[in-house]
């Protein structure tokens, strides 16, 4: 694109009064050698017409809007896909953050504000120069069919719902028929008012609907050997369930392990398997994957004090369900349901329970009563968990004289006669309880299949399984409350029992949502744009491979496993797996990765455009790289609340702290600036980074850079990373002041002026 630039300075909202616009204009016209105009109300109809006139009459196509924050007035300053708009935040982050001049320091205050504004204008002009229009990445061929792994309620729902929206779907199921766990259910929970009666098992109807659906192909007794490729173009190798093939997904082999294997010091775990990066020419193509491989009943054999594995009259809820299904309840006159194994030690349910097991106990108590009108059921719980409308089901059960419910700390189950004696303390009866029953049912949990196996079997450089499973006890769940379908594997969406113990209603909702995300991912790949959280972003990272040194940092650090590599270690990008966070760009020591509108050179040039005054201790320059999702909005809100920001800082928004290349930090220090801070999201188990690892990776890089600064004779304290929340707008000023104070203490950068 042949760029024709013009900067537009808005003098509205107090900018014109607070700043010397003539001087600011000179920064653009003389220093940057670009056109510059000002207007008293740029976002108004007249202001926009003023810009559009330049566009139509003078061919201006690249504009620097020096006005309010880029977080506001996006539509007003969107001049179409063939124009470039860059914003300089003079309102929120300059005049609103300047504070009030101290008495006698009015001139200095004015000067500081003017200097800050000038730097933001310089950076905007530089950014405009270096920004190119994006060209969306297009796959050569796009396959829109969805692969659903697992043929239970979750999988079948995902398939049926995707089909209803017009998608083609293949379901694979390990077992020899569809239906999953639900095939074994005697009856289902009530789903509608008055939530009183159990409903007949509807799984047969769902199986029939799937089998009758011409959009859905069903492959039973089938498993995934490996999934290679990327959204829109996954290559899936299927195999007979339980078999081993050369296309099975290889285990992850790290750099160090590979060395050991090469030296013969370690056995190759992948011996006999095709390399992960090798595509199977016979693989079937899919656009997206829904993982719905469900759960298995928890092993409760450790609870011997409850008679588990010792006493045949003690069964799990799964076993009891089968007995009910097979009509084997005759002769059972009393059953105790034990919800919590902790006795007097703790009041938690069995592991992997969620609230489903409370409801299962209620349902199964009803089986006991429906089978034999004289039979008694005892439900011994610590906390009855029947959320939402399930409370009504619980209430209905309480009306049944034959079902006895109490809070109880069950301390033991021992054999007695043909049955068991259950003892419990802390009951609602005001006394300890001893019950003789024919059968005891333990409310065992539902363990996700992802706890035991790779399940998804990706042929990715970062390995075959989901990451972070440890954070969720093996569940393949999202870590984001706001975004429950986010996984670290783009185009793969999980639902049902693999991510939570759910009842049928929840499972159906969850699977329908997963189907939507699969369709959405394929549509986004088709348009060449990113999915969440940078939905619609047309840029993607481009690699200048000639200069790649095969250091593998980008392939290691990508939070989404978007980068595979070849035998030499050269990265093989998969743009449709990419979320555009730029962590690869931050990782690259050769600076060869970048986006059209965001790259090492662009930010580097912006940094260089900051004016660095010499010999003035009141004018140190400290750069804040601020995560644009949380830190930057927090800084904006600090401005809205008129919190004063230190006049020596210059803020640069970044896509994610993960994208911050340490070259920037070195460059800014060599350019004589005095310090740098990375301001981003919380990390650790409760991480808030929307790119999962960005802020954590960045802080590690910052620790490492300390050493190289020392060799330059610079104090490592000049660089720091801080974790903040978007709501920390009242704390930020102090945080920045403290940092600036420390740098002032260290004194100006000795490289100043070199």
């Amino acid at each position: 694109m042949d760029k024709k630039y013009c900067a537009y300075i808005c003098t509205g909202c107090g900018i014109g009064e607070a700043l010397n616009i003539e001087e600011l204009t000179k920064v653009v016209t003389s220093e940057m050698a670009m056109d510059c105009k000002d207007h008293s109300y740029l976002c108004g109809a007249d202001g926009r017409a003023f810009i559009e006139k330049d566009m139509s009459e003078n061919g201006v196509n690249t504009v620097m809007i020096c006005a309010c924050s880029p977080r506001v007035m996006q539509n007003e300053f969107d001049f179409g896909n063939d124009k470039i708009t860059v914003r300089a935040n003079l309102r929120e982050q300059v005049i609103w953050s300047a504070g009030v001049a101290e008495e006698g320091k009015e001139d200095a205050h004015q000067e500081w504000m003017q200097e800050t504004a000038s730097d933001y204008v310089r950076m905007a002009c530089t950014r405009a120069k270096k920004t190119e229009l994006p060209e969306p990445f297009q796959l050569e061929t796009l396959n829109k069919e969805i692969l659903v792994m697992g043929g239970g309620i979750a999988g079948m729902t995902a398939a049926l719902e995707a089909s209803k929206a017009g998608s083609k779907v293949t379901i694979i199921e390990k077992a020899d028929k569809l239906g999953g766990k639900a095939l074994g259910w005697a009856k289902q929970f009530p789903t509608k008012l008055p939530y009183a009666d159990l409903e007949p098992n509807s799984i047969g109807e769902m199986v029939a609907a799937v089998e009758a659906d011409s959009n859905i192909t069903v492959k039973t007794s089938t498993e995934v050997a490996r999934i290679g490729g990327a959204p829109g173009d996954f290559g899936v190798t299927l195999k007979a369930a339980g078999s081993k093939t050369e296309w099975d997904a290889p285990a992850k082999v790290g750099v160090d392990e590979q060395d050991l294997i090469s030296q013969g010091k370690m056995e190759d775990p992948n011996a006999g398997l095709k390399p992960y990066a090798e595509g199977n020419p016979d693989a079937q193509k899919f656009g997206a994957v829904v993982l719905a491989t469900g759960w298995v009943p928890a092993d409760v054999s450790e609870y011997t004090h409850l008679g588990c594995g010792v006493n045949e009259k003690v069964v799990t809820n799964a076993q009891f369900e089968k007995m009910a299904k097979d009509n084997q309840l005759s002769g059972i006159n009393s059953v105790a349901f034990v919800m919590s194994p902790g006795g007097e030690e703790h009041d938690q349910d069995f592991p992997y329970c969620n609230s489903v097991t409370s409801m299962v106990a209620l349902k199964q108590a009803k089986y006991v009563r429906e089978n034999n009108a004289d039979a008694k059921a005892y439900i011994l719980y610590q906390h009855m968990r029947t959320p939402g409308h399930m409370e009504l089901f619980y209430k209905g059960i309480q009306q049944d004289d034959g079902i006895f419910l109490t809070k109880a700390a069950v301390t033991s189950v021992v054999a007695a006669g043909n049955g068991c004696t259950v003892t419990a303390k802390d009951t609602l009866l005001g006394e300890d309880l001893s019950l003789d029953v024919d059968l005891v049912v333990l409310a065992a949990g539902m363990v996700p299949t992802t706890k035991f196996e790779n399940s998804i079997n990706l042929a990715y450089r970062q390995g075959p399984a989901f990451l972070d499973l440890g954070l969720f006890d093996g569940y393949a769940d999202s870590h984001f409350i706001c975004f429950p379908y986010e996984t670290r594997r783009t185009g793969v969406y999980t639902c049902g029992g693999v991510r939570k113990a759910m009842n049928m209603e929840e499972t159906i909702d969850d699977a329908t949502g997963a189907a939507l995300k699969a369709i959405q991912c394929i549509e986004s790949a088709d348009r060449g744009v990113s999915v969440h959280p940078r939905s619609g972003d047309k840029t993607y990272p481009e690699f200048f491979m000639q200069r790649c040194t095969q250091c593998k940092r980008c392939t290691e650090e990508c939070p989404f496993g978007a980068l595979d590599d070849d035998a030499k270690g050269t990265p093989l990008p998969n743009p449709t797996r990419c979320r555009r966070c730029g962590t690869c760009m931050g990782a690259c020591p050769e600076r060869i990765i970048g986006f059209k509108d965001y790259n090492v050179d662009l930010i580097g040039a912006m940094l260089k455009s900051i004016e660095v005054p010499e010999d003035d201790e009141d004018k140190l320059r400290i750069v804040i790289f601020a995560c644009e999702n949380d830190a930057y909005p927090a800084l904006d809100m600090a401005g809205m609340r008129r919190n004063k920001l230190n006049h020596m800082v210059r803020i640069i928004p970044v896509r994610c702290l993960g994208s911050v290349n340490m070259a920037w930090v070195r460059d800014l220090l060599s350019a004589g600036m005095d310090g740098a801070m990375l301001l981003g999201c919380k990390y650790g188990d409760d991480y808030q980074c929307h790119f999962v690892k960005g802020s954590e990776i960045a802080s590690k890089r910052m620790e490492n850079i300390g050493d190289s600064l020392s060799t330059l004779g610079l104090e490592p304290e000049r660089v720091r990373s801080e974790q903040i929340s978007i709501t920390d707008y009242d704390k930020i000023p102090q945080l920045l002041n403290d940092f600036v104070d420390e740098i002032v203490e260290l004194g100006p950068n000795p490289f100043k002026g070199f």
Binding site: G12, V72, S355, H389, K407, P484, I508, L516, D686, Q688
Partner: protein, 420 residues
């Protein structure tokens, strides 16, 4: 959007809280046109008022920021604030909906400079902060308000205030003559994401809300704990500003009660544990008493509960609160019976927090069209008719579950638009 009047493929999402935002964005990012209408002056709904989410203790505004950015970046969505549905005619694939937009008295010229607020002398109760403080009658509802455009409460403006506000605006954005506007759109399907409202605590006469400043609701605690809230983050007794040394949480305040809300509101137990962390952060030594029927913190929430139950200064009593008695010193006495020991408990505390439940908003507001609803006011989805309920308009749920059901609702609506 290709057609401002809508098309048979377009989707109307009613309600711009986390549920509606999710439905609207997920549908639009598939490629459908979406109208998103919200009755408040800002998007974000109930979660915008929360200080943190459980169990991560992260601020909801973080996710809202991303969602707002997704809206700004997506021309498929047309967001309307202060807008409600007046009537719906037609059928699935072919609904004609009349929308009514209440006057904001600030037009699109607004630059959000804030001069009107500075000039305005008239004050109103701050609804966003549940009336716990005042805001000017010309105001931005809160820092994160999207769209960032001011609002004027015209009824609260004095003649002088009106003149001052008008004079303060350099951009001719104040329009006190603004009228209610109606607009008719065509859509294929409607997602009802009308959310919930805290159950009116005055309805439980035994809990004496309103009779003592020491009795507050869980939503009030959220606002107090929030950095931009009425107390800038301090949890203090309204009225006398006392820093409480003891707290009682009254669980199931309205929920699981056939005289009030017969269902379980799903979130209140976890909300209480979360609010215990707010209290601990501010008052490490304060005594906390939690009165409950069951502690419903299933699944991965158990870890969070476990951590807080280990707190030495907290006591958990299985027993429903029978009565709260205001005391002369500004505190209250909470009366309950311990269901396990049978002991009657009278616990004096400085502040009692009612864990009020969630009532579906439409049960309070009424419905503009004949929607299938249950006797609590939750909407029963009817995808065949293109009438789809999402989030807490359909059932009491936490944010994760709400977002799952809202994503699902988006697909159900898309299916209507793709029916041949």
């Amino acid at each position: 959007m290709t057609d401002e009047q809508g098309t048979s493929g377009a989707i109307l999402v009613v309600g711009g809280g986390i549920s509606g935002l999710t439905s609207a964005l997920e549908a639009a990012e598939v490629g459908n046109d979406v109208f998103l209408v919200e009755k408040n002056a800002y998007f974000g709904g109930r979660v915008a008022q929360l200080n943190q989410y459980f169990p991560k203790l992260c601020p909801p505004s973080c996710g809202l920021e991303i969602n707002f950015k997704r809206i700004k970046d997506n021309r498929k969505i047309r967001p309307y604030t202060m807008t409600t549905v007046k009537s719906v005619t037609g059928g699935p694939g072919n609904y004609e909906v009349t929308l009514e937009t209440a006057p904001r008295y600030v037009n699109a010229n607004c630059t959000a400079c804030g001069e009107c607020t500075i000039a305005c002398s008239d004050e109103i109760d701050n609804d966003f902060n549940l009336g716990m403080n005042k805001s000017k009658a010309a105001y931005l509802p809160h820092e994160m308000a999207f769209p960032r455009r001011y609002v004027i409460n015209k009824a609260a403006l004095s003649a002088a205030g009106a003149a001052a506000v008008k004079a303060a605006c350099k951009y001719n954005a104040v329009d006190l003559e603004m009228q209610t506007e109606t607009k008719v759109i065509k859509v294929g399907a409607i997602i009802w994401a009308t959310g919930w409202t805290p159950y009116d605590p005055t309805k439980m006469e035994n809990l004496k809300f309103g009779q003592s400043q020491a009795i507050v609701t869980n939503m009030m605690i959220e606002r107090m704990a929030a950095p931009g809230g009425p107390t800038d983050g301090a949890i203090v007794r309204p009225g006398d500003g006392k820093e409480p040394e003891s707290f009682a949480f009254v669980q199931c305040a309205g929920s699981r009660d056939e005289n009030h809300l017969e269902f379980c509101s799903y979130v209140c137990c976890m909300a209480t544990f979360k609010q215990m962390t707010y209290i601990r952060e501010r008052y490490p030594e304060a005594k906390i008493y939690v009165f409950y029927i069951d502690l419903r913190t299933p699944g991965k929430y158990e870890k969070f509960r476990e951590k807080l139950m280990a707190d030495q200064n907290s006591t958990f009593i299985k027993g429903k609160v029978a009565e709260i008695i205001p005391e002369a010193d500004g505190g209250v006495t909470v009366v309950a019976e311990n269901a396990v020991t049978g002991n009657k408990i009278r616990q004096k505390v400085d502040m009692a927090v009612l864990a009020t439940g969630m009532q579906p908003s439409l049960a309070v507001q009424g419905v503009p069209v004949a929607l299938a609803m249950d006797n609590s006011g939750f909407i029963i989805s009817d995808p065949e008719k293109g009438m789809i309920a999402a989030g807490c308009a359909r059932k009491a749920a936490d944010v994760v579950t709400t977002n799952q059901s809202s994503t699902a609702a988006a697909l159900k609506a898309i299916q209507v638009s793709r029916r041949s």
